[in-house]
Symmetry: C2
Subunit: 357 residues, 2 copies
Amino acid sequence: MMKHKEIALNKLRGMGDEVLESVLQEEVPSIQIPSRGTSNIIYNPDKKYFELGDRKGTRSLGNVKQIKKMAQMMCVGNFCKELVDIQKTATMREMYYVSEGWDVGFDNQQESNNITEDIEVTLGVSRENLGLLPEEDGASVYGDITLRDEDVEFNALRLGKSGYTIPPTVDDVEIVDADVDRIICVETMGLYHRMVQEKAYERFNALIVGLKGQAARATRRFIRRTSDELNVPVYICNDGDPWGFHIAMVIISGSAKLAHVNHDLATPNAKFLGVTASDIINYDLPTDKLKDIDVTRLKELSGDPRYQTDFWQTEIKKMLKLGRKAEQQSFSKYGLEYIIDTYFPNKISAIEGQSLE
Amino acid sequence: MMKHKEIALNKLRGMGDEVLESVLQEEVPSIQIPSRGTSNIIYNPDKKYFELGDRKGTRSLGNVKQIKKMAQMMCVGNFCKELVDIQKTATMREMYYVSEGWDVGFDNQQESNNITEDIEVTLGVSRENLGLLPEEDGASVYGDITLRDEDVEFNALRLGKSGYTIPPTVDDVEIVDADVDRIICVETMGLYHRMVQEKAYERFNALIVGLKGQAARATRRFIRRTSDELNVPVYICNDGDPWGFHIAMVIISGSAKLAHVNHDLATPNAKFLGVTASDIINYDLPTDKLKDIDVTRLKELSGDPRYQTDFWQTEIKKMLKLGRKAEQQSFSKYGLEYIIDTYFPNKISAIEGQSLE
């Protein structure tokens, strides 16, 4: 069994043992659950991501209102223990239906999601490692990386034009080997296929990651793991609008909602290398006018703790003043290859302080 | 060059030659474009899909209002010819930006999409074969199929847990070999991963396709090609609600909007094997109440030419009477493996008239 599964199993057993112990000692069983309330979600400027503070709540069988929730936690914990034990996984949806057979079921999916999050927070283990998977797959990956999943080993240059798809079970995947100098993530699959077609993975000796918009949890975990294990810079290259900025920021600094798992999902070393207001001016890009909703969002970001750097404050002000936004694909104005032949080399050279020839 | 590319190239050249010829003969150049109006979209009950009728419109340089559109068609045609010639592709979005450098540009993306569709219809060639790709990738595929894309050959059992992702350039992919008796498509990635985890590809000797909801064009083309080239039955296994029904129907009989390419995308031999109102009753499944929008949609489907079979008419009536719908994952009520151990074998045996042991 892989180490992260063993840890999960031990923690699940620990939770059950604690309750059992109390019963045997004729005490009222209770569990301490870190609070996920807004006031307990704190941005840590050193770590560069949101994490949970020290506040905890107590869930006790001595409180009539909490009995059902305690029982549900035990049922979910037990279900997860079995899953991890037999090396299986289930979707949150499947568990919801399975729970129809339990003595304490759920009234709706939201209720079972909440209990699952309670366990994640209490044990400090992500639900993926408890065997509970989100529905969606992660990003596409193309480049010279060799991975192993159970008994199958493969290189992401040899899986077809769409490359490797990151599975929800990303922590079961072993990084065997990689020959890359950097990781370049792009927002759209259109640009991803452009990068593959123009062999950008060779030109930049890079792993190309196609995010498919907002990055899935599996994608964020994969980026974090490759960043840690390969020890190469990670660039997030998105559209030049508040939505593109924030897709990058969630990869870099995590979200407030997932403060309890950001230590596994955030990649604080990753750098935004997407389209900026400065790029729009310098490259005379085709643009669209900022909509009201873009302006509102930019102003929100400007007050967000994750954007309190000179770079972001300057770029957000500049975009608001310019009143325009631009997509990455707009570089096609200068030809399909321009973004790879000229723009990316310029940007990467500037940030790495070395020429990319 | 692959054959479908050669055909596309010849047809593009033909379109240009025709216009040139007229000019040289001092005639007014014009192009006949099959009409895509509703009255020219006809359901063909023998072929079991929508196709275009015989009505055509004429676009002529002699008509002041049509000059710009004619010129745009020539520019897009020329752009596609270059793409196919140098074996590249571009997204519709990229072409839109590239067109900024043309003498006749587009006012918006919709305008360039329309001109592209004009060319598709006129030449009878899908835009993918003209080098113009949709942004999105297709479905995930797991099972014993060996494919080749350019110089890379791979088997879809050896690409990691998420399997093979169908690229937008699906017609460039060669099916080298396959050892499967049937193709089973499922609507959700949750069920796809369940099928992979329970080794349903071995149990049913099947290719498992994870549709990710409404099937992308690349997915529909892949299903059609595997159906034709492997000559095995195709089953579409979706949720038991009007949306699940229709995801299956679009794979089987195509959409009205794409009447001009259904001959390449539809798989009329494919069979719906998703959750029916009868299943809901027979398996006593957990259900949700039909919403108003579900009822409206079911009534629409009941009048749709594609649903005029006894099977569909009966099942739609039964669901309306029952007033309930059910997801495929609801079989988890009987345990995670039930759907693969019991439900699918029952359904497949019934349709194939042989036991699946």
